[in-house]
Amino acid sequence: MTGSYGTATRLKNTADGMARANWALTASELLQRCLDSGDREAWEEFVRRYRKTIALVVLRVSRAWNESSTLIIDDLVQETFLKLCEDNCRVLREFRSEQPQGLPGFLKVLAANLAQDYFRASNATKRGVALTCSATEALPAGNNAAIEELNQAVLFNEIDEFLNVTRTREKHQAVFWLYYRDGLTAKAIASLSALGLSTKGVESIILRLTRQVRSRFHITAPKTRRTG
């Protein structure tokens, strides 16, 4: 999906010499350059880097609503990008994450909420139901450091089995895996309207299941652990 556009941008950036090329920047560096300089080429790299991430989530939400129009999907992808620049790029300026996957995770949640809001509103128009979810409430994905200490591939299966055997509610399992496997923060998970949970509720579920899993698998808790 990069094509000549990406190549041309990279060549231009490389030719610029003094500043590091946009394509070589980390996610947070690129974001900072976009916000600080309002540089068009930085924004081009931002779009190039994340258009597929956003489009994929929008596509999946669209299909869940039985919508297959590429026109609507394209509009929602564009809306997601424009949402980022609303109010002097407020959501991006407030974004904080120390994790490399933090920004893509944040964009995924934002795109999913925006798309769900769109389809819910469309449906509500037909059925007279009110819209309840705000896409801008989505916050960054974050820390999965604790799980990285574990032997993931084998342990994940064992934990999954454990959660099934202990008859853990499916919604709680989803919260647990979104947090540990997909790196979403408690606040980002709470922003998924389909789950219908508050941030405190999500944190409570994570804490309880984490204790159970640690106890079952004899895992020592790390000294610090951020849940938000």
């Binding site: 779009v47 596509l59 509610r169």
Partner: protein, 70 residues
Amino acid sequence: MFEHAIGFQGQSSHANADGANRHATLAYVQGLFSDQLTEEEKKILASLEISKDANAERLARQLTALCRAR
């Protein structure tokens, strides 16, 4: 109806929900954010306007203008 499709409505999210719903819910939420693409998804993504470089450049210009217009 979206909630119905993913099993989050009413009693379907409770512990006594049937096995199919239980796994469908978990699979949906995790699948939504997965980075793995099916062949069909790849085709659809490639057909989107945003996948065309000229359109992506146009969008980037819009974003730049919005960012500068403080």
